[in-house]
């Protein structure tokens, strides 16, 4: 097996991975950086983020307000030292992107423009029309091209971390084009592999978001944190699940039930605000968890609209007018027209909540370090505890910048003065990966089909770990995922050839998703309270006495995982009431 020696290996080349790579290259031009990704960088799912990125820049805003919005939005499960660091770094990172050429929308005087976003008390979301993530990703990718010290390994599927002497020292990966296995020996590894939304059947997430990075760290002994917190975005297209950005509502779009009522006022987000005059942090600009939960209640009451794509509510943007829609929401208009045949200028568009984002992930501290020495993580795959129990829209694009850079700085510190690697030991570990793949590849007595297992997993997650959860449902979910993980050991490939074998990669991705699904269901069953995106019908209240803690799930092979807890860091904001009732009470 070919060995590639490098100083730092980064797994994932989306927003977080690219930001990390650039920060490393800038800090030390002599550093060897390997940027490994299963897709070409510009295919990464950062490209699908639409609305924008939050950072305090305007004179009427303050760091304290961004802090309060984030901590309250996260239902007090955010680590407040992390939020503090984040809010101060955010504007610097967004300005850095501006200096790298990101085409942010502008005010008439040429300064950067900001837009309102859900759960934010001030306008602080920087945006590039409704393609903000796309522009961030391409700006980072293009900027990265000027650094010769960044060596890209595009379309390399990362497999296992190499952990020897108590620290992470590399990773194995398969070159997809040839099917050849490689080992990367690195002084530090940074995982920036994105989320795992594809474990659910209905998701805004691209096909690539299968939690490979999370699962890799989990299998290597690093805990996954707060995995039970899965964000449903309130407004997805009902057939494809494509995202219609929160900016639809930020710009003034309203949500209606089948009676034409703006039903959010019935769920603690009223009173109603005038149409076309969106008010911050109330009604349609409530936080995502609350808005998605309101849909569920409307569904129970029979207030949703029956469409050929299932039960929906309506997002009405007609009053914004064609000019504003074309200027601010061109992608949304195009998506609704192409995939649903609805022109949002003329008609309301049917929508429903859709799995969007994992608040949980590889446990990291504010330095982006995992408990496993030498292993760092950033972006959606990490849980740095910025987002708590519910992420506010437009905080995650900034998170990947702030903690992508932070992971680079921490890795640089870590690699100073390390003892030499024991290459014999690393080679032996890489051989284990080789063996694992060989077993999967050559199994002829398997009885389980990959697409069959995948469907069972998705159905289980939707049925038992959705917007509202119960003890009974979660017990069933945990048992079923356990069973599927065991049956996965008998999965059989149809394709046993070497070149770009997507049958193989989908099987590996399924393994990753099953590991993540285990952490989600086990964490959800153990958390007997309702907080943010984790809602239990049998425990409807938040329970700060017992659960103002992070769930930490540790992999135990095929056995049930070990669950532990970690205290939330509270510095200045004691748990309070989340109030989205607007200014007039």
């Amino acid at each position: 097996m070919e060995t590639i020696s490098t100083d730092v290996a980064i797994i994932g080349a989306g927003g977080a991975g690219l930001r990390t790579a650039i920060a490393l290259a800038e800090a030390d031009p002599k550093l060897r950086i390997a940027l490994i990704s299963k897709v070409y960088p510009m295919r990464s799912h950062t490209c699908a983020a639409e609305g924008g990125a939050a950072g305090v820049i305007k004179p009427d805003d303050s760091f304290d307000l961004h802090f309060d919005d984030t901590v309250g939005g996260g239902d007090w499960l955010s680590d407040q030292d992390c939020v503090e660091y984040f809010i101060h770094e955010a504007p610097k990172e967004l300005l850095q992107l501006e200096h790298w050429g990101c085409p942010w929308n502008r005010e008439p005087d040429g300064s950067v423009a900001v837009r309102p976003f859900g759960g934010m008390k001030k306008k602080r979301t920087w945006f590039a029309a409704d393609k903000s993530g796309f522009h961030i990703l391409h700006t980072l990718f293009q900027t990265s091209l000027q650094f010769d010290s960044i060596t890209r390994f595009d379309e390399y599927y990362a497999l296992d971390l190499l952990v020897d002497d108590g620290r992470c020292q590399g990773v194995t990966a398969m070159e997809m084009r040839s099917g050849q296995l490689r080992q990367f020996h690195a002084k530090a590894v940074i995982i920036a592999g994105g989320g795992a939304g594809r474990m659910f059947p209905f998701s805004t997430n691209g096909a690539i978001k299968t939690g490979d990075g999370m699962a890799m760290a989990y299998r290597a002994g690093a805990p996954l944190k707060d995995m039970e917190f899965v964000q449903y975005h309130p407004t997805g297209l009902p057939n494809t699940g494509s995202l219609l950005t929160e900016a639809c509502r930020g710009e003034g779009g309203i949500l209606l039930n089948k009676n034409g009522r703006r039903y959010l006022q019935d769920y603690g987000m009223g009173p109603e605000t005038p149409v076309g005059q969106p008010q911050l942090k109330t009604m349609e600009l409530g936080p995502r968890d609350r808005v998605s939960q309101a849909y569920w209640h409307e569904l129970q009451k029979g207030n949703t609209v029956s469409t050929q794509w299932g039960e929906c509510v309506m997002l009405d943007m007609r009053h914004l007018g064609e000019k504003k829609i074309n200027e601010r929401l061109p992608l949304v208009r195009e998506l609704a027209a192409s995939y649903l045949g609805v022109d949002i200028v003329k008609d309301p568009v049917p929508i429903r909540p859709v799995v969007h984002y994992m608040m949980g992930g590889i446990s990291t501290n504010t330095q982006a370090a995992t408990p496993l020495p030498g292993l760092f993580a950033a972006g959606e795959c990490a849980c740095v505890s910025l987002n708590g129990a519910n992420r506010l829209g437009s905080n995650s694009l900034v998170e990947l910048l702030v903690f992508g850079r932070r992971a680079a700085l921490s890795a640089l510190e870590h690699i100073q003065g390390l003892p030499a690697a024991n290459t014999t030991a690393l080679n032996a570990l890489a051989e284990e990966t080789q063996q694992r793949i060989r077993t999967l590849f050559s199994r002829t007595d398997g009885t389980e089909s990959m697409s069959g297992l995948r469907k069972e997993m998705m159905d289980t997650m939707e049925k038992n770990a959705g917007i509202y959860r119960t003890e009974e449902g979660l017990q069933e979910g945990v048992a079923k995922i356990h069973e599927l993980r065991e049956r996965y050991g008998r999965v059989i490939l149809t394709d046993r050839t070497n070149v770009f074998n997507t049958d193989l990669f989908q099987a590996l991705e399924l393994g990753s998703m099953l590991d993540c699904a285990e952490a989600v269901t086990v964490g959800a069953l153990a958390r007997k309270e309702s907080r943010g995106a984790h809602q239990r019908l049998d425990f409807p209240e938040r329970d700060d006495k017992n659960y103002l803690r992070h769930t930490m799930v540790y992999h135990q092979g095929l056995d049930a995982p070990r669950v532990d807890y970690l205290d939330v860091v509270i510095t200045k904001s004691p748990p309070g009431v989340r109030d989205y009732s607007g200014d007039h009470k």
């Binding site: 070409y40 799912h45 490209c47 085409p103 008439p108 050929q308 195009e334 394709d495 050839t497 989908q506």
Partner: protein
């Protein structure tokens, strides 16, 4: 959701086992409002797991799923079944080497992208602490269209020049260089001219305009190439015909 039967004829090639490519016929039922990618996914899931292609976002922004559909370069997630009658022929993107089935090797494009220096080379560098470079909406508008390229390479598959002369830098890469040249914050045009105004650059383009026709996000690379040609001609006139090189 209404369904319809879809017949696909897909070009298959596996270098491990095949000496030549061949077509394979599939028939699946798909929602009427679906796209060719939905049909491929259904085939892979229910009929033939050995079929290979790239895809991710299913919303025409990641640029992964470019292929030839009835001879035209298209994103398969944006090729609507309602627009096709009869058997739909699906082949790998033209002008790129085939790795396997519908998966092509984009190495040449990636290399060219890098050569045009597609990043901001600031006109007047300043530290982050001094805030943003001011840029009015009008200045943004000047280059904005050319920022929209998703690198899907459909324009390379459509470009007859690229088919004949693979050295041609090509529509997307030149548009991207032009995007930075037009950016009020940028001062790097001279550094990019060397490549884009070279023989392999814009002068290879015969202005067929196929690139703009197939672009799924309306970047209009043809207009970028035309603008680069005009600007480069003016450079030449200044340098060779005006006293003192026009300076």
């Amino acid at each position: 959701m209404k369904e319809r039967l879809v017949q696909l004829e897909v070009l298959r090639y596996n270098p491990d086992t095949d000496t030549t490519a061949h077509f394979q016929r599939y028939e699946v039922s798909c929602p009427e409002e679906g796209v060719v990618l939905d049909a491929l996914n259904k085939i892979k899931e229910t009929i033939d797991p050995t079929l290979n292609y790239r895809w991710s976002c299913h919303m025409a922004v990641c640029g992964s799923c470019g292929m030839m559909i009835n001879g035209e370069p298209k994103l398969s997630c944006h090729a609507f079944l309602r627009e096709y009658d009869g058997v739909i022929r699906v082949e790998p993107l033209a002008h790129f080497p085939v790795e396997r089935d519908l998966v092509t090797a984009p190495d040449d494009f990636i290399e060219k992208l890098k050569r045009v220096k597609p990043y901001l080379i600031p006109k007047a560098p300043k530290p982050i602490s001094e805030g943003e470079y001011l840029q009015t909406p009008a200045q943004l508008k000047k280059y904005h269209r050319f920022t929209l390229c998703i690198n899907c390479m459909l324009c390379y598959a459509a470009c007859p020049e690229y088919g004949l002369t693979p050295k041609f830098i090509g529509p997307a890469a030149i548009s991207l260089a032009h995007r930075y040249n037009l950016d009020s914050r940028d001062g790097g045009r001279d550094a990019r001219q060397e490549v884009i105004a070279s023989k392999e650059g814009v002068w290879e383009c015969t202005f067929v305009g196929a690139c703009s026709e197939v672009c799924p996000v309306h970047v209009d690379p043809a207009s970028a190439l035309q603008q680069v040609k005009i600007a480069s001609s003016i450079d030449w006139i200044k340098e060779h015909l005006l006293p003192g090189g026009g300076k």
